[in-house]
């Protein structure tokens, strides 16, 4: 049962990822990416990370993808990628490079995949567990994150300002 659910969600994730790469229209790609992010949120749920699943939907599907679609709408890139490709030879490397990366992990999995788990499986993914860890062991990186977001915000304001 759990395996069937995993297989279904994994198929949806892989299909939507392929759709993102294959579809020419960026809006279609963005919608495929939303499906992909949703399916990954579902996978988080199957791994017992409820908090992360919610955060994934809110932050990724809610905030980041809205930003993407907004940018696509502003730029209206309808006519790109239609002419002849000036760097065709370079792009032929895509499949070999991707395939080698994939094979590396598959080989590692085949070699080491059967080892028994080192700890007690099934960590709790509740808000309490993750929040407690964030505010104790990971307090410094957590605060650094706020500095990072502030720096990004100021940088974006500077970039978006029209030159007077």
């Amino acid at each position: 049962m759990a395996l069937a659910a995993f297989a279904l969600i994994a198929l949806i994730a892989l299909g939507s990822a392929l759709g993102l790469v294959v579809k020419r229209n960026p809006i279609h790609g963005a919608l495929f990416l939303v499906v992909n992010l949703g399916s990954i949120a579902a996978l988080y749920l199957t791994l017992g990370a409820e908090f992360l699943a919610a955060v994934q939907v809110i932050v990724y599907a809610g905030a980041i993808m809205v930003l993407f679609i907004f940018a696509i709408m502003v730029l209206i890139p309808g006519k790109d990628e239609t002419g002849p490709d000036p760097r065709r030879a370079l792009r032929l490397w895509a499949l070999p490079v991707g395939g080698v990366l994939f094979l590396q992990v598959v080989v590692l999995l085949v070699l080491f995949g059967g080892k028994p788990p080192a700890g007690e499986p099934g960590a709790s993914g509740s808000v309490e567990t993750v929040g407690r860890l964030l505010f104790t062991d990971y307090l410094f990186p957590f605060e650094l994150t706020s500095v990072l977001l502030l720096a990004a915000m100021v940088g974006v304001l500077l970039l978006a300002r029209r030159r007077a």
């Binding site: 960026p26 963005a30 080192a118 993914g125 970039l159």
Partner: protein, 100 residues
Amino acid sequence: MVPESYYLGLSAALFAIGVVGVIVRRNPLVIFMSIELMLNAANLAFVAFGHRLGSPDGQVLVFFVLAVAAAEVAVGLAIIVAIFRLRRRLSVDDLSVMRW
């Protein structure tokens, strides 16, 4: 119970698809979305490892990756919009203005 190695295999496949997207596509927006795909593949691996080791640390790391991804998307999209204003085109092949 689904073995965690299946999740890692799926994560590897998603990452590989993201790499192919970054190399193949010419639209910087789609390249960005492929990068998001790769970040998500890494996140999935984090959560799978955390589940296997029985520790919530992996989930905390995913939390930080999310924050970095949000900052990266904001800055990247701003750069793309600024370059579009300058060039009136949207193709990574003539983005050599970023070089100095």
